[in-house]
């Protein structure tokens, strides 16, 4: 269920405040649309979109406000999670948020001129960065807010009223996942203040969507959360299918559920393997990573690729399961169970593990919600929000499984929730495979799905259908739509604007890692440096998804 509300810009803040009090306490996304070349004339050339979810998690609302001037009141006083989301809109569209505490670019670099998601900005116009941002002024503001006064001399801090050491964590460091930078002020081993910088892997996904057809975008979605590529494929095509008003076959739905769960296992395995290595438990890496190799093996047999599968298409998928898939899957599941069992036997009663993870990097339920955390990270704080239960799709309501929740939202909970979810996913996969519906995997509409190769070679209609679909793409009716599903890292959503052609007018990803990362700096302030590494690992930030 979803409601669309159009609201004048001056009333937006008041309305969001009212909605918040009515129970819409969960901000999903903020984005903008540039209508300058849209075929249907809109009220104004620019609009802002806010997506909010109700605290019952059963439905969401989409608020739209047309902008006369590129300015609006910030909502960071209501939602902490709005901070980075508004910065992104500013960065990409140049819309100014009044009273925003820290309105600066977030994805593009500091020497960038212009705003890339404006229709007038050429897609391929790159701009060089010569020197990395020193983050001094951002850090300085942060220090001042904690009553630490430092002198600034030739671009670095000197003489603070506290004995501090300044240190860059990342971006080039294995524990910072290659692309995340956190600048910290240390008092001994304790982090006094932290600011994070992202965008090092911002590779223009959303702009690239604007010159590719819908099915051409599927490979790009692989590379959002590349640890579980297929779930991104599914979230994207699901949104497009809803815009087209089509329902895929039962078999396709079941296969998608099975693959969503397999992706979840695949992703959790790599997250858990990596965090245990960060903790010094190298042995677990082999136990958790080897089953992942087996999943790769299975997926490459099914889809042709190990990692970047691109298996989904609008209306179905590229091919059906191969003969013997079921048996292979069973073998793989056995290996996963073995890996999990071995790892747990090493850590479950391990004093070092408990000491390093319990009460470390905590985030309360209230804060987690206010920062728009989602998925396992939110559930670890004790909030049982899982789209598979709350707003089921693809028949999730038919399957028996539990939602795994934590209690205090520390590193331990986030790790254990993931272990628990692997077990639950296996249950779902077994139920799906035990009762897999027969039939077609694709819908029968050749304006959406490619015809069989024989038809293309032997009939004129087949050749025409193929030609039109490849060259023009699937024609999606004019309109705007937000849809999402429970991906590995939580609610992964797409906001798509269609101008009626085969290429989207605009695509925005609601990326779980983006909001999780925006909470990180505050989570680690006051904790030990070594704990900050584990906190980051436990949030499972995937740069491709965060930076897009």
């Amino acid at each position: 269920m979803c409601e669309n509300i159009i609201v004048p810009a001056e009333e937006l803040h008041t309305l969001i405040d009212t909605k918040y009090k009515e129970g819409f306490t969960y901000l999903l996304d903020i984005t903008a649309v540039d209508y300058t070349v849209y075929p249907v004339v809109q009220e104004e050339l620019f609009a802002l979109i806010y997506v909010l979810r109700h605290e019952s998690f059963l439905y969401h609302i989409v608020l739209k406000t047309y902008l006369k001037e590129l300015k609006i009141e910030t909502i960071t006083d209501i939602f902490k999670g709005a901070n980075w989301l508004e910065r992104e809109v500013y960065d990409q569209y140049g819309i100014h948020f009044k009273n925003h505490p820290n309105l600066r670019r977030v994805l593009n670099h500091k020497e960038f001129v212009g705003h890339p998601l404006l229709k007038a900005y050429p897609i391929t116009k790159g701009q060089l960065l010569h020197e990395v941002d020193d983050l001094i002024d951002e850090m300085n503001n942060r220090l001042l807010s904690r009553n630490v006064v430092c002198k600034l001399e030739s671009g670095s801090f000197s003489e603070c009223n506290k004995d501090l050491m300044f240190l860059n964590l990342g971006p080039s460091h294995p524990a910072s996942h290659g692309t995340i930078r956190t600048y910290v002020a240390l008092d001994g081993e304790t982090i006094e203040c932290a600011v994070s910088e992202i965008g090092y892997l911002h590779r223009g996904f959303e702009k690239s969507c604007e010159n590719h057809t819908y099915n051409q975008i599927v490979p790009y979605t692989d590379r959002l959360n590349y640890c579980s590529a297929i779930s991104n494929n599914i979230a994207f095509v699901k949104t497009v299918e809803e815009m087209l008003g089509i329902t895929i076959s039962e078999r396709a739905q079941a296969i998608r559920v099975m693959l969503l769960e397999l992706s979840r296992i695949e992703d959790h395995a790599v997250c858990l393997a990596a965090i245990l290595v960060d903790m010094g438990g190298l042995t677990n890496y082999w136990y958790m990573y080897n089953p992942r190799e087996d999943i790769y093996e299975l997926l490459s047999k099914l889809t042709g690729a190990r990692l970047t599968n691109s298996y989904m298409r609008v209306g179905g998928m590229t091919n059906d399961l191969y003969d013997g898939f079921d048996g292979d899957l069973k073998e793989v599941i056995k290996k996963i169970q073995y890996g999990v069992e071995q790892t747990l036997s090493l850590i479950k009663h391990n004093r070092i593990f408990h000491d390093r993870t319990q009460n470390v990097g905590m985030i309360t339920a209230e804060n987690a919600l206010n920062y728009s955390l989602t998925g396992p990270n939110l559930r670890a704080s004790g909030i049982a929000y899982d789209m598979r239960k709350d707003t089921p799709y693809y028949g999730y309501e038919k399957y028996q499984f539990d939602v795994v929740v934590g209690s205090v939202g520390d590193v331990y909970d986030r790790i254990m929730v993931r272990f628990g979810e692997i077990e639950e996913s296996i249950k779902i996969i077994e139920q799906v495979m035990g009762n897999l519906p027969q039939g077609e995997i694709n819908i029968k509409d050749f304006s959406i799905v490619l015809p069989k190769k024989e038809a293309v070679y032997t009939t004129i209609e087949g050749a025409m259908n193929q030609f039109k679909l490849i060259f023009e793409g699937v024609k999606v009716p004019l309109g705007e739509h937000y849809s999402s599903l429970e991906a590995t890292n939580g609610e992964l959503g797409f906001y798509i604007v269609s101008d009626g052609s085969g290429t989207p007018y605009k695509v925005k990803v609601k990326a779980p890692s983006f909001t999780a990362m925006s909470a990180y700096a505050q989570m680690i302030e006051g904790s030990q440096l070594a704990d900050a590494i584990l906190t980051l690992g436990s949030l499972n930030i995937i740069a491709g998804e965060m930076d897009r």
């Binding site: 900005y121 790159g126 701009q127 460091h173 965008g199 190990r306």
Partner: protein, 172 residues
């Protein structure tokens, strides 16, 4: 038993050229530094894990400090924002050093032909071996390593080979 000098030497000395001896030593003692930024880095994890196991080829001492490494493996997309960091890392490595560009993105920008992605790392630093694929399979990276080692053995790498290289961020 008769002990003449020739027999003794035959057992304990090999006659070779200095460069060949150096090449032989280098070949199996590469210390890679992985500059992993994206999906390709996940495939590098596979290369390091037990199934593909890069240590079989004498390159398992993966360092994450450029100062301790002589082989830079760039695995993943390099954006304009990342480029100055890549350059800095490369410069922090001491000679002799080699660079492997892993994956379509590092080689050419891959399918990210847009405002934020550097169209190939060789715009910034010189590259010795390119590995195609999106991502390349682990075997492809191992193949690149083997071919590099082979070239090291035959001493193909002239220390001055990149003397004239000028990247987009040089001389600015």
């Amino acid at each position: 038993m008769e002990l003449d000098t020739t027999t003794l030497l035959n057992d304990s000395a090999i006659a070779t050229r200095l460069e060949e001896a150096i090449g032989w030593a280098r070949e199996s003692s590469l210390w890679p530094m992985v500059f992993g930024t994206a999906c390709c880095a996940i495939e590098f994890m596979s290369v390091a894990a037990s199934k593909y196991d890069i240590s079989r080829f004498g390159a398992e001492v993966v360092r994450f400090s450029p100062r301790q490494a002589d082989l830079l493996i760039v695995a993943g997309t390099i954006t304009y924002k990342q480029a100055p960091i890549l350059k800095q890392i490369y410069e922090q490595m001491s000679e002799p050093k080699w660079v492997v560009s892993m994956g379509a993105c590092a080689c050419s920008g891959g399918f990210y032909d847009n405002y934020s992605t550097m169209q190939g790392i060789d715009n910034i630093i010189p590259v010795d071996v390119y590995v195609g694929g999106c991502p390349p399979r682990p075997e492809a990276l191992i193949d690149a390593l083997l071919s590099l080692q082979n070239d090291l053995r035959i001493n193909k790498y002239n220390p001055d080979r990149h003397k004239d290289f000028r990247g987009l961020l040089d001389n600015v």
